[in-house]
């Protein structure tokens, strides 16, 4: 009985913790961006501007949730929910600390890759259901970008799987006790970072949204809570990406003095800060440059990484 309660507590804790982090990212991203742009972020609302999250939440809740009459209603409503569902389901397999995980699948990594493929649907369906030209353009660009970058996302983590010998995320974390995988799998880490940034439509790969900043984009017709779902879904994607990189390449919860969960959170926040730095520095490539980069540079790099890792593992394995 107490074991069930413990499991429920862990599930609720992970859910609430992850959503709190994603909501807090609204504030953290603006403060970090402003730190790197020589200005102050929100610092008026509450001490150090911390109540800005509350203010933004209240704003999103009270905005008029209008469904355009020319939109495809059921798909329009489902599209933002898909990204939240997909990303939150991916969090079910992430191991936070020894004993703290929601589900222990021995194909945990495949589950994560599958869920991120499902997340593609959110932008495509959102753009399609909005039934407006710029939304459609944004959705189509999103589909091409995410499809192209999905291909080598899976390939880039195969090097990690080869070195560990298992898809189970907990085995991967345990295998990094002596040496984190960012050293032998350096190129795999780079390719995975680029691929996952493109999957969560994060700068510099935010063309489906940049249409949002410039013209429309797949969430132009959305308002109120549905837009809030897209927004928080993107931040959840950033958190998930950082957490997966920590698990796969940066040693999970291993570290000298502090308790493991603290190490996990520290490393995740470090990677989140790095993603925000990338957002604040790099320019957005043109659409064809982006696709060419994905197919002509990243895919060969991922394949080469896989081939070399396979060769090294074969040569050094004990008979």
């Amino acid at each position: 009985m107490s074991e069930i309660l413990q499991q429920v507590a862990i599930v609720l804790g992970v859910l609430i913790g992850v959503i709190t982090i994603a909501a807090g990212l609204i504030y953290v991203e603006r403060r970090l961006l402003s730190l790197w742009q020589d200005r102050y972020g929100p610092n008026r609302v509450g001490p150090f501007g911390l109540l800005q999250v509350v203010a933004d939440m209240v704003k999103i809740f009270f905005k008029e949730d209008w469904i355009p009459p020319f939109a495809d209603k059921p798909v329009f409503i489902i599209a933002p929910a898909i990204i939240m569902i997909a990303v939150l389901m991916s969090f079910a397999v992430v191991p936070f600390a020894p004993g703290i995980w929601v589900a222990d699948l021995n194909i945990g990594l495949l589950w994560f890759l599958g869920m991120s493929s499902l997340a593609v649907y959110s932008s495509v369906l959102g753009g399609w259901a909005s039934n407006s030209k710029y939304a459609l353009l944004g959705g189509m660009r999103g589909s091409v970008q995410m499809l192209g970058y999905e291909v080598f996302m899976g390939l880039s983590v195969m090097g990690v799987v080869l070195q560990t010998g298992s898809f189970r995320l907990i085995d991967i974390v345990d295998a990094q006790q002596d040496l984190w995988y960012c050293v032998p799998q350096f190129f795999g880490m780079l390719v995975f970072a680029v691929a996952a940034a493109a999957e969560s439509k994060r700068l510099p790969f935010d063309l489906p949204e940049a249409e949002a900043e410039l013209i429309g984009g797949y969430h132009v017709e959305y308002s109120g809570m549905k837009f809030g779902m897209f927004f928080v879904g993107e931040y959840l994607g950033v958190t998930l990406l950082s957490a997966m990189m920590v698990v796969l390449f940066f040693g999970g919860w291993h570290g000298p003095l502090l308790p493991p969960i603290v190490w996990f959170l520290l490393k995740t926040f470090g990677l989140i800060a790095f993603m925000i730095l990338v957002r604040g520095s790099l320019p957005r490539p043109r659409y064809d440059q982006l696709t060419a980069f994905g197919w002509k540079v990243m895919l060969p790099l991922a394949l080469a990484n896989l081939a070399v890792t396979g060769a090294v593992v074969l040569l050094t394995q004990k008979p």
Binding site: S34, W36, D38, Y40
Partner: protein, 174 residues
């Protein structure tokens, strides 16, 4: 390839910005530093002797590009001209400073003050009582009537600063 490595250099340089001072001035906790010549709120100044400098010559009203100054001249018992009313509509004023350049007596001046927000639009029309200040403003020590040749109470012709006494034209005739 060079672009990829250049991206890493960009990331490093932007990261270094974290250690620089921020450019934002945290108004209203910190007020910005304004020069004394900064064109802000308009005032009407007084002589060093305490009388108002404005002689209601209408030059500022004529120079104003948006016609926001309204005044009417009248003369006092001592012979000094002064404005019966002097009204500036600050919802029209563009703070260009042309009135200050046109004024012959240094009466109208622009000060480095910009905090003039109102909730009721009519309160932005400032009358003479709102514009007049107690001191000489930016140009201390200038008294127009001490310099000009006009005869007023207390100063006859020839008694101004740097003025010679008027010639008696009959005394230079052959």
């Amino acid at each position: 390839m060079r672009e990829i490595l250049n991206s890493f250099r960009t990331l490093w340089l932007v990261f270094l910005h974290a250690f620089r001072k921020r450019e934002t001035i945290l108004y209203p906790d910190v007020k910005p530093r304004l020069a004394p010549r900064w064109r802000g709120r308009i005032i009407l100044s007084r002589d060093p002797d305490g009388q108002e400098r404005c002689v209601a010559c209408y030059l500022c009203s004529a120079a104003c590009p948006v016609a926001c100054i309204a005044l009417q001249a009248t003369e006092g018992p001592d012979g000094r001209r002064y404005p019966k009313f002097f009204r500036i509509n600050f919802s029209r004023c563009i703070f260009c400073g042309l009135c200050e350049e046109a004024c012959p007596t240094y009466a109208i001046q622009l000060t480095p003050d910009f905090e003039m927000g109102e909730y009721v639009r009519q309160n932005l029309v400032y009358e003479k009582e709102d514009l007049l200040i107690a001191g000489p403003g930016k140009y201390p020590g200038y008294n127009f009537y001490r310099r000009s040749g006009l005869a007023i109470a207390g100063k006859d012709k020839g008694q101004a600063d740097c003025e010679r006494a008027p010639e008696d034209v009959w005394s230079v005739m052959p």
